[in-house]
């Protein structure tokens, strides 16, 4: 089961700066959405609003699933943000513990999640013993272990080397295909958003508006081979062109792509 996301007339400001003035956005259940935008435009604030960590000043943020249940939401931060005093396994059981899950059940669910991210051997290690990529895998396992209806990721792979990043992108895409939770993935990389997402949203500078909202033309199953195909490169080019013309039509004042993405 996956969550439907709906933002209606959302306004949010921090002190003097207006992040969102009047933002409307709908995300269908089970879709994989990438959110891009210049740094500081409010991408992270959008995620925090969806997570319920911030409330809008005006308007509504709805995250709903069918039935009575309240939706389970997971968040993957820019850095892995593991608790250093907990082992890998204990880090992954944490969300289950907080939800009141029985300990033995939580352990077996966490073990399963860690096996899925390829860390079945590292259960008793501590975060300081792991590489950056492994830490991020633990962080992914911690997010997946609750079987979330909505998975929010805030530039999770930005600090990793290319090889690790590509591998984690493939894994994330595979988890999504298997579980079909709703995914909102914030990134500042156009290539990452083209590779991962089925829908790409580009925000403007603040107060952030939606500059571009497009559907990907790539096939659902994506593996490394895709990265060198002309289809993928064409997709990136289309994304760039559409963005360029969106910027053009929006502001006659002459905004440029390299200004939006310094």
């Amino acid at each position: 089961m996956s969550a439907r996301v709906k933002l209606t007339d959302v306004a949010k400001r921090f002190r003097d700066s207006i992040i969102f003035d009047d933002l409307d956005l709908q995300i269908e259940p089970g879709s994989f959405v990438a959110v891009m935008g210049p740094s500081g435009c409010g991408k992270s604030t959008l995620l925090r609003l969806l997570a319920g960590l911030e409330r809008p000043d005006v308007g509504r943020v709805q995250v709903e699933i069918a039935g009575q249940e309240s939706p389970r939401i997971s968040f993957v931060f820019q850095e892995a943000q593991l608790l250093p005093w907990r082992s890998v396994l204990q880090n992954v059981t944490l969300p289950l513990e907080l939800g009141g899950q029985e300990a033995r059940e939580a352990t077996s669910m966490a073990r399963e999640a860690l096996i899925r991210v390829g860390l079945g051997e590292a259960l008793s290690k501590y975060p300081h013993q792991l590489s950056g990529g492994m830490k991020m895998r633990v962080s992914l396992a911690r997010a997946l272990v609750t079987r979330p209806h909505l998975l929010l990721l805030d530039e999770p792979f930005a600090a990793l080397d290319d090889v690790t990043r590509f591998r984690l992108q493939n894994d994330l895409r595979a988890f999504w295909l298997a579980e079909r939770m709703t995914v909102v993935f914030v990134t500042h990389s156009m290539t990452e958003s083209a590779y991962l997402a089925d829908r790409q949203i580009m925000l403007s500078r603040r107060p952030a508006e939606i500059l571009l909202d497009r559907i990907s033309e790539l096939p659902p199953h994506r593996q490394d081979e895709l990265r060198v195909t002309s289809a993928y490169l064409a997709e990136i080019e289309k994304l760039q062109n559409q963005l360029q013309s969106a910027l053009h039509s929006r502001a006659q004042g002459g905004w440029r792509l390299d200004e939006e993405f310094p």
Binding site: R48, A51, Q81, P84, L94, E97, Y126
Partner: protein, 272 residues
């Protein structure tokens, strides 16, 4: 560096003994040099024996006055270790209360700072009036002296949890209790041990000050020997009280190592 990465072929236990002996030699070396130097200087009467005793006389006093000294050491050790337990527990409780609200912090912090800034030597006569001679005054004085470092470090530690961790706990709807027990307290632990280390030394000092005024323990041994101009005994007692402080700090360090070694950088093997 982990122990097993060493390239020597000695078994682990031998290496451990060897390292410890080396450390001991490093620590005792300067003491030995200064001791021999002082011995020569006092014997040659470059320094008057009324200013500094001969180190050999201090050693003799450690042997000859051992009954009195060990009684004093025992009393001081009991009072200062109990005081450290009391002040650390009280400081933890107070830190927990103060971490719960800005209001509590603002209301209580000035009183906590009082413990840090009050001149314990001025307070000690009052402590005698309030608590009576001997052990109770030594205990109270040691508690006052050792209270603040644990409080200040625990407060800093309870606030040290990363904001992303707090978000994570809120996202998964953690209760305030879960946030305290599973996040803030473990995050505070390295800080608390750093504070405890400072407090351990201060507890011994506070205790000696209390004993100076209220009697009992090494403090009154020092005071009595001083009035009798038995400098060797004064120094023997000072040496023992300082050794007691060392020992208490060592115990705190060992506790820190046991509880933090799996994860915290301060407790990992640094040599090997």
């Amino acid at each position: 560096m982990r122990k097993d990465s060493s390239t020597t072929s000695l078994p682990d236990s031998h290496k451990g003994v060897q390292t410890r002996l080396q450390t001991l030699a490093k620590v005792l070396g300067p003491l030995l040099i200064v001791g021999v130097g002082l011995e020569v200087a006092v014997r040659a009467e470059w320094i008057s024996p009324f200013v500094l005793p001969r180190p050999t006389d201090v050693l003799k006093s450690l042997v000859n006055d051992r009954v009195e000294l060990l009684d004093g050491l025992h009393a001081t050790a009991m009072a200062s270790s109990l005081a450290l337990g009391v002040s650390a527990s009280a400081a933890m409780v107070m830190a927990l209360i103060m971490s719960q609200s800005r209001w509590a912090r603002q209301a209580l912090l000035p009183y906590a700072v009082f413990f840090q800034t009050v001149p314990i030597i001025a307070l000690a006569p009052m402590l005698v009036i309030w608590f009576g001679f001997g052990f109770p005054t030594a205990l109270a004085s040691a508690v006052v002296a050792s209270f603040f470092p644990v409080l200040a470090s625990a407060l800093a530690g309870l606030d040290s949890a990363d904001s992303a961790w707090v978000d994570l706990f809120r996202l998964h709807r953690a209760s305030a209790w879960q946030e305290l027990v599973k996040l803030r307290l473990p995050a505070a632990l390295p800080y608390v041990f750093a504070g405890l280390r400072v407090s351990a030394g201060l507890a011994v000092i506070g205790c000696i000050v209390g004993e100076f005024i209220g009697g009992g323990g090494l403090g009154s041994v020092i005071d009595a020997a001083r009035t009798q101009q038995k400098l060797d005994k004064v120094f023997a007692a000072v040496f023992l009280s300082s050794a007691l402080g060392f020992f208490m700090i060592g115990v705190v360090d060992q506790l820190a190592k046991w509880s933090l070694s799996p994860w915290h950088v301060s407790a990992r093997d640094q040599d090997a």
